[in-house]
C-alpha cells in the first residue's frame, strides 16, 4: 500500500476531511501567469470601484459652476494627484484588456492557455500608461 492510500484510508476511517498530501493550492500553484492575471484584474477592479464615487463627486462640482469646477481641477494639479491619475489610467487599461481576455476565453472556442492574451494585457496597459504620461507631460 502506498503512502497516499494509507493516508486516504486513515482519513476515511477517522471520518475527517480528506487531506491529500502535496495538493494544497499554495504559493507554487499560484505562481503562474494566469493567476497573476487574475490578481491584477481583481485588484485593478477594486481600485477602480473605490475611485469611481470620488470621480463622480469631483465631476459633480461642475453643478456649482465652472469656477467651482476649476478650483477642484487646480487641486488635481499636485504631483500626488497626477501620479494617482496616471496609475488609474494604467489600471483601467489593464482591466479593459484583461476583461476582453476573459470574454474571449469564455465566449470563444477553447484554444489552450493563451498566455499571449496575458502578455497583451501587460503590454497594452504599459502602452496606454506611457501614452497618457507622454500627453500629460509634453
Amino acid at each position: 500500500m502506498s503512502e497516499l492510500d494509507a493516508a486516504h484510508n486513515r482519513s476515511v476511517a477517522a471520518d475527517v476531511p480528506r487531506k491529500t498530501p502535496g495538493r494544497r493550492a499554495d504559493a507554487r500553484a499560484r505562481n503562474h501567469p494566469a493567476w497573476w492575471a487574475f490578481l491584477v484584474h481583481r485588484l485593478s477592479g477594486l481600485a477602480l470601484a473605490i475611485f469611481l464615487p470620488m470621480h463622480f463627486w469631483a465631476l459633480g462640482t461642475a453643478l456649482h459652476g465652472a469656477a467651482a469646477f476649476d478650483s477642484f481641477l487646480a487641486v488635481t494639479q499636485q504631483p500626488a494627484f497626477v501620479f494617482a491619475e496616471w496609475g488609474l489610467v494604467t489600471l483601467l487599461a489593464a482591466h479593459l484588456i484583461g476583461g476582453v481576455r476573459i470574454l474571449l476565453i469564455e465566449y470563444r472556442p477553447w484554444s489552450g492557455l493563451r498566455k499571449d492574451l496575458i502578455a497583451l494585457t501587460a503590454g497594452g496597459a504599459l502602452v496606454a500608461g506611457l501614452a497618457f504620461a507622454l500627453s500629460l507631460t509634453l
Binding site: F56, G60, L63, F69, L92, L96, A128, L136
Partner: protein, 113 residues
C-alpha cells in the same frame, strides 16, 4: 435563480458595453489631458452635447451594473461574506453609483456654465 443572483451574465454583458466605452474614454483622456485640464475646455466640449450625454449615460449605467458584481465576488471569495444581506448592499452600491454618475453627467452637460 442561483445563476441569476450570481450576476455572472450581468457582469459579462456590462463588460461588453464597458469595453467599448472604456476604449473611447482612454483615447479621450489621452487627447484632452494634453496641455492640462480646465473647466472651460471640458464644459466647452461637453455642454449641451446630446451625443456625449448619451455616451456617458450608457457608460455610467454599465459601470453601475458591473461594479456590484465584482465587489460581491471579492466579498464572497476573500472575506467570506455571502447571502441576501451582501446582495442587497451590493445592489444599493450599484444604485448609488448610477445616481452619482448620472448627476455628474448632468453637471457637465446640462449644468451651469
Amino acid at each position: 435563480m442561483r445563476a441569476a443572483l450570481s450576476g455572472w451574465r450581468v457582469q459579462r454583458i456590462s463588460a461588453m458595453v464597458l469595453a467599448l466605452c472604456v476604449s473611447v474614454h482612454l483615447v479621450t483622456m489621452i487627447i484632452v489631458v494634453h496641455g492640462g485640464l480646465s473647466a472651460g475646455a471640458i464644459l466647452g466640449r461637453l455642454h449641451g452635447n446630446a451625443a456625449w450625454a448619451l455616451f456617458y449615460a450608457v457608460f455610467v449605467l454599465a459601470a453601475a451594473a458591473h461594479v456590484p458584481v465584482g465587489l460581491r465576488r471579492i466579498a464572497e471569495e476573500w472575506l467570506g461574506w455571502r447571502g441576501a444581506g451582501v446582495f442587497a448592499v451590493s445592489v444599493l452600491i450599484g444604485l448609488m453609483l448610477a445616481l452619482a454618475g448620472l448627476r455628474a453627467v448632468y453637471a457637465l452637460i446640462g449644468g451651469p456654465l
